[in-house]
C-alpha cells in the first residue's frame, strides 16, 4: 500500500516512519530555538543581554547546553524506583510527540488529518501528567513527590477549562477537525466570536504548560524544581524539551483554533512560504505573551490555583458552551457571541479583583496555634 509523501509515492509504513522522524527533528530544533529565544527575551525583560558567548549572538547556546546535558552522567538515586524513574521522561515526552500528529502547520502539512483532531490532541497531551507523577513518585525525594502531586492536581483541574474552551470554539466552527476549522476562518478568525474562550484557553494553557504564574509543580523557590529534582543529564533535558515542545505545539494550536492558522482574513491566495510566515507570526504572539507573563507574574498558591479553576474558569467556560449551543439552536446573529464574550471577560476581571480585594485571613488551625505558642 502506497501513500503520497511530499513528492513521491512510498510504502505507508515508511511514510509514517519518515513523518515521525521529521517531527522528532523539528521538535528538537524548535525546542532548542525556543529555549534560546526565551533566554534572550527574558533577558531583555530583565535589562540584561542574555546568552552571547556561544556563536554569533549566542545562537549556539542551546546546542552547547544540549551537548553538555548529553555528556553528563545519568544519575539515579539509590532508593529510586528504577522503572518509574527511568520511564518517566518518556511518559512526558511521547504524549507531546503524539499531539504533533494532528497539528496543521500549513495547508496539507500535517501528519494525519483526523476528524476529531482537537479531541485527539487534548487526549494525547493530557497524558503527560502520568509522566510527571511518575517522576515525582519514582525519585524518592520529598520535594519531587510534593511537586508531582501538585502537578497532578493542577493538570486535572485545568484540563477542564482547556477542553471546554476548545469545545465552545468547536461548536461555533461546527467541526472538531483542525484543518476544516482553520479553513472556516478564512473570513473572520474565531477569536472575534469567542474572546472569552480564548482568554480561558490562554490561562488554562499556561497552567497545562506549567508556566508562570502556574509553575507551582516546579516552583523553584518552594520545591526546587519539583519532579525534576533528582534528574540529570539526558533525562532532565527530555523533560525540558517536552516543556518547550509543548509550548510550541500549544501556540500553534492557539493560532490554528483562535487566530485562523494559515488563513489570511483579507482575501487572496497565499503561497506556502507566506503561510509558514503567517503561522509563525501568529504562534509567536502567543509565545511572546507566555514569556511576558513569565517575566511579570508571581506564582499562585496551590489552593488559589485550584479555586480559580473550579470556581471561575470551569463555570464560565460551561456558560460559554451553553450560550454557543443556544445561539446555534435558536438562531441569532453571531455578534451576540462577541458581545457576551467581551462581557464575560469583564466579569472575569471583576471577579478576580473582588477575590483579591477581600483577602481572607485563613484561620490557622487553633490546635496548631496553641501548640506553636506553647
Amino acid at each position: 500500500m502506497n501513500t503520497h509523501f511530499i513528492f513521491w509515492d512510498i510504502n505507508v509504513w515508511a511514510d509514517g516512519a519518515l513523518r515521525l522522524l521529521m517531527i522528532t527533528g523539528l521538535m528538537t530544533v524548535v525546542a532548542m530555538g525556543l529555549i534560546y529565544l526565551e533566554r534572550k527575551v527574558l533577558a531583555r525583560f530583565h535589562q540584561r543581554v542574555g546568552p552571547q558567548r556561544t556563536g554569533p549572538l549566542g545562537l549556539l547556546q542551546s546546542v552547547a547546553d544540549a551537548l553538555k546535558l548529553v555528556g553528563k552522567e545519568d544519575l539515579r538515586p539509590t532508593n529510586a524506583d528504577p522503572w518509574t524513574f527511568e520511564l518517566a521522561p518518556y511518559l512526558v515526552f511521547i504524549p507531546i510527540f503524539l499531539g504533533f500528529v494532528v497539528i496543521p502547520f500549513v495547508a496539507d502539512w500535517q501528519v494525519r488529518v483526523l476528524d476529531l483532531g482537537i479531541l485527539y490532541f487534548v487526549a494525547a497531551s493530557s497524558l503527560t501528567i502520568v509522566g510527571w507523577v511518575a517522576a515525582g513518585w519514582g525519585s524518592d525525594n520529598r520535594y519531587a513527590m510534593i511537586g508531582g502531586l501538585r502537578s497532578a492536581a493542577q493538570a486535572i483541574s485545568y484540563e477542564l477549562p482547556l477542553v471546554l474552551s476548545l469545545l465552545s470554539v468547536g461548536i461555533v466552527a461546527g467541526t472538531l477537525n483542525l484543518n476544516e476549522m482553520v479553513q472556516g476562518q478564512s473570513a473572520v478568525p474565531n477569536i472575534v466570536w469567542q474572546p472569552m474562550a480564548f482568554f480561558i484557553f490562554f490561562i488554562a494553557a499556561l497552567a497545562e504548560l506549567n508556566r508562570t504564574p502556574f509553575d507551582i509543580p516546579v516552583g523553584e523557590s518552594e520545591v526546587v524544581g519539583g519532579p525534576f529534582v533528582e534528574y540529570s543529564g539526558i533525562r532532565w533535558s527530555m523533560f525540558f524539551l517536552g516543556e518547550y515542545a509543548g509550548m510550541f505545539i500549544m501556540s500553534i494550536l492557539a493560532g490554528a483554533v483562535f487566530l485562523g492558522g494559515y488563513e489570511w482574513p483579507f482575501g487572496g491566495e497565499l503561497g506556502r512560504g507566506w503561510q509558514v510566515v503567517l503561522v509563525g507570526v501568529k504562534s509567536s504572539i502567543f509565545i511572546f505573551l507566555v514569556f511576558w507573563v513569565r517575566a511579570s507574574m508571581p506564582r499562585l498558591r496551590i489552593d488559589q490555583l485550584m479555586g480559580y479553576a473550579w470556581k471561575v474558569l470551569v463555570p464560565l467556560s460551561l456558560v460559554q458552551v451553553l450560550l454557543n449551543g443556544a445561539v446555534l439552536v435558536y438562531g441569532g446573529p453571531k455578534i451576540i457571541l462577541t458581545v457576551t464574550g467581551l462581557a464575560g471577560i469583564v466579569f472575569l476581571f471583576w471577579i478576580t479583583d473582588r477575590a483579591v480585594s477581600k483577602p481572607r485571613v485563613r484561620p490557622a488551625n487553633p490546635a496548631m496555634q496553641t501548640e506553636a505558642a506553647s
Binding site: 525583560f45 535589562q47 543581554v49 511576558w292 507573563v293 511579570s296 507574574m297 476581571f349 479583583d353
Partner: protein, 163 residues
C-alpha cells in the same frame, strides 16, 4: 486585573530600556583609585629598592595575621657604600591573600608609605588551583609597583578634603 496590567506594563517599559549588563571578561569596569583589592609593596624607583624597611608595624596591626615580615641590614646603605638612606630593609615578606580581609589597616599604620592596596584589576583576578599559591612573596608583592603598573592611593587617616 488592573495590577496585573500594571506589572506587565512595567516589565514592558523595562524591555524597551538599554541593557545594563557589563560584559565582564571582555569589559573591565574602570576602577576608582580608592579600590581596595589586596595589599602590595611599593617600589622606590629613585633608589631602586622597596620602600619597606621591615618594621613589623603592619604585621602587628593585621587583624587576621596574614603577614610575615623579615628584616635585614640594607646592603645598599650609605654606610656600606650604597646610596640608600634606609639602614634596615625588608628581607622576606609574605602576605597570605587567602587570609587577608582587605581592611586597609596595614596601609594606615605604615610609617613609610611602603604598602598600598592594589587598585588594579590584577588584584581582583587571582584564581589559583591551590590555596598555597595565594601566599605572595616579596617578588610577587613588589612586581606590580616595580613595573610601574599601579598608581597607588595611600590615604592619610582623618585627612579632610581641602575646602
Amino acid at each position: 486585573m488592573k495590577g496585573l496590567a500594571k506589572s506587565m506594563w512595567t516589565t514592558l517599559a523595562v524591555f524597551a530600556r538599554k541593557p545594563v549588563t557589563r560584559d565582564y571578561p571582555t569589559y573591565h569596569k574602570p576602577l576608582p583609585e580608592r579600590d581596595r583589592a589586596f595589599p602590595l609593596l611599593l617600589w622606590d624607583k629613585q633608589i631602586d629598592e622597596p620602600f619597606c624597611t621591615g618594621c613589623h608595624a603592619c604585621e602587628r596591626a593585621c587583624p587576621v595575621e596574614c603577614m610575615t615580615v623579615l628584616m635585614k641590614d640594607n646592603p645598599n646603605h650609605r654606610s656600606v657604600g650604597g646610596n640608600s638612606g634606609r639602614r634596615k630593609i625588608i628581607d622576606k615578606f609574605w602576605i597570605d591573600y587567602a587570609r587577608c580581609m582587605r581592611c586597609n589597616i596595614c596601609v594606615e599604620v605604615c610609617n613609610f608609605d611602603a604598602i598600598a592596596m592594589n587598585n588594579t584589576w590584577q588584584g581582583h583576578e587571582l584564581s589559583v588551583y591551590d590555596r598555597k599559591d595565594l601566599v605572595m612573596d616579596l617578588g610577587a608583592l613588589t612586581s606590580l609597583s616595580h613595573g610601574g603598573g599601579i598608581t597607588e592611593w595611600v590615604p592619610v587617616v582623618g585627612q579632610a578634603n581641602e575646602a
